[in-house]
Amino acid sequence: MNKNLILYAAILVFGLAAPFIFPAFKVQLSILCVLIVLALTWNIQGGEMGYNTFGNILFYGLGMYLCASVQVGMFFPLAEWTESGGEKTFVHTPTQFFQGMAVGLVVAAVVPTIVAGLIGYSILGLRGHYFAICTLGLGVAAGEISGGIEIIGAGQGFTTPPFPDVGGLESRGEFFYFLSFMAVVLTFITVKSIYSTRFKLILNAIRDNEDKAEAMGIQTMKYKIIGWMISAFFCGLAGGIMGGLVGYIDSTDVAFDGREMGVFMVLMAILGGKGTLWGPVIGATVFHIFKEGFWTFFLGWQYVALGVLIVVIVIYFPEGIMGWLREKYPERFGEVVDEADRKAQVELK
């Protein structure tokens, strides 16, 4: 226990100091934080509950659009803003910007949660691959439809309010870094506290055998919806932050980007190890470092690399890093291993 506390304190200190240690990578670090949030929330569905969703991107995009719209709409007419394409006709004062951001983030987190609650009953009744494809459809439909709505910029995109001129050039990066770092800490604490309750066991029961769980008297639907709402909350929050960070929202390329972000979150969670607390965090970090380190060398071949990466990870590495570690050092995970039994299992394979 004591050891864990030191570990968490060290990570916290490192996280707080990171933008000052690596001042050139603030934006990258912020994106990493958002990716960790997304991977952690995907893991609640895909890892713990066994509902492999492609649709969390829906909440992410929704949060992104909502945060930006609220931030603009609180002070200026939204339609004129999007029409001007982010021209400097309307300028947020610093107070307006931060007020708008605060309210926007709350809305961006709460509304997707409500949406998840509303559609949860219909969607979460689907099983297995029907669920996966249905959520894939939801994400794409949301992207296509939002790309046709005029007031949020339709096909030409939506420029989020530029960061106000306070505290010099570096302040923008620091602001967004600490915002996203707070989001990570919040998500991690929430997820960790969930994972130590009965709720996690119920989610695992749903994953392992939903009919049996139901027969045991668990109201599976209720817990599935709650799980999805928790995911939606943090996805929306992450989306809102990411919208401000990127500074520009496009319906299919930034917000409802099923081809990138929607797959990334699945991939990161699987790479790190589904159904573990630390897996998504490790997966997201490794993935992001790999992506940023090598993406530039591929020069336009990123998507080819991404496609190959997906296939390789899914086929050869479905257990992820944590799964591999668990196989290698089961003692560290508190599993008692009977050597004879293990040998017998190896022989069976």
């Binding site: 996966a132 249905c134 939801l138 296509e144 080819v304 190959v308 997906i310 086929i315």
Partner: protein
Amino acid sequence: MDFMVFQYPMISVQACLDGILLGILFALIAYGMALQWGVMNIINIAQGDLVILGGYIAYFMYLYGIHPAWGVIVAPIIMYFVGVGLYKLVINKVVDRDLFISILATFGISILFMQLMNFAFGADVVLANSGYGTTFLFDSAVVLPNSKIFSAFISILFAICLVIYMKKSKLGRAIRATAQNARAAKILGVDTEKVYAATFGINAALCGVAGALISITFTIHPYMGLPYTIRSFMIVIVAGLGNLPGVALSGMGLGVFEEFADYILGTEFRIGAVFLLLVLILVYRRFKLSRKREYLK
């Protein structure tokens, strides 16, 4: 919103005919998907990208001065080998695994294909001009390009050939046996590995035919694959596996729905409407099944 369709009945007729001709093409793709789903228990997200690849084969023949209609013969032959190669490289490792693994792996293939096609053929919307002219019906109130009629005719022809092949040939019988019970088929001496490869190849060949026809009748673009996957998935779940008339009918229904959505909501919402319809169908199905307490895995 635009309700012109209902004020001028001839537009409705036009939409219906367009939709039916389009739907026959969808049904052909969906038949391929039903085949591999039934036999190998795989949902291939890259289905639509195989279609687009087939389309590019026809388009290239057109560029080199060969009539694109010959693509209907050439594309399936090339696509068959692409399909078998894909099976040997990737799909055989996911056949007997969790369905989600196959969805994700084929999603990766889809992204890969999309991007490779983007490099190879460029990001422009292209079409292969067949020069077949148009047919006018009802005092020129309804305009049907002959290429659409041609493509529907060819699709039906291929579907019939395939059904006969599946019924009569040795491989067809082996495929059907594997679909019923892979283990029993193995015991009785069917080389299931070969059957799987052939199934995937046939599916890819069907996609190739459909793609070649689409490049003649409509337009193709490297990123347009996913809607075709979703359409065929939708058709298969509405019709059920192994229900060929159902596949044809629901394909046409989907085509008509799309044409009407196009007229009423506007073209920019067409793809969105397709994906929303998918969600609605799945949700409807879920409520119908849960009433019977009969969840399907």
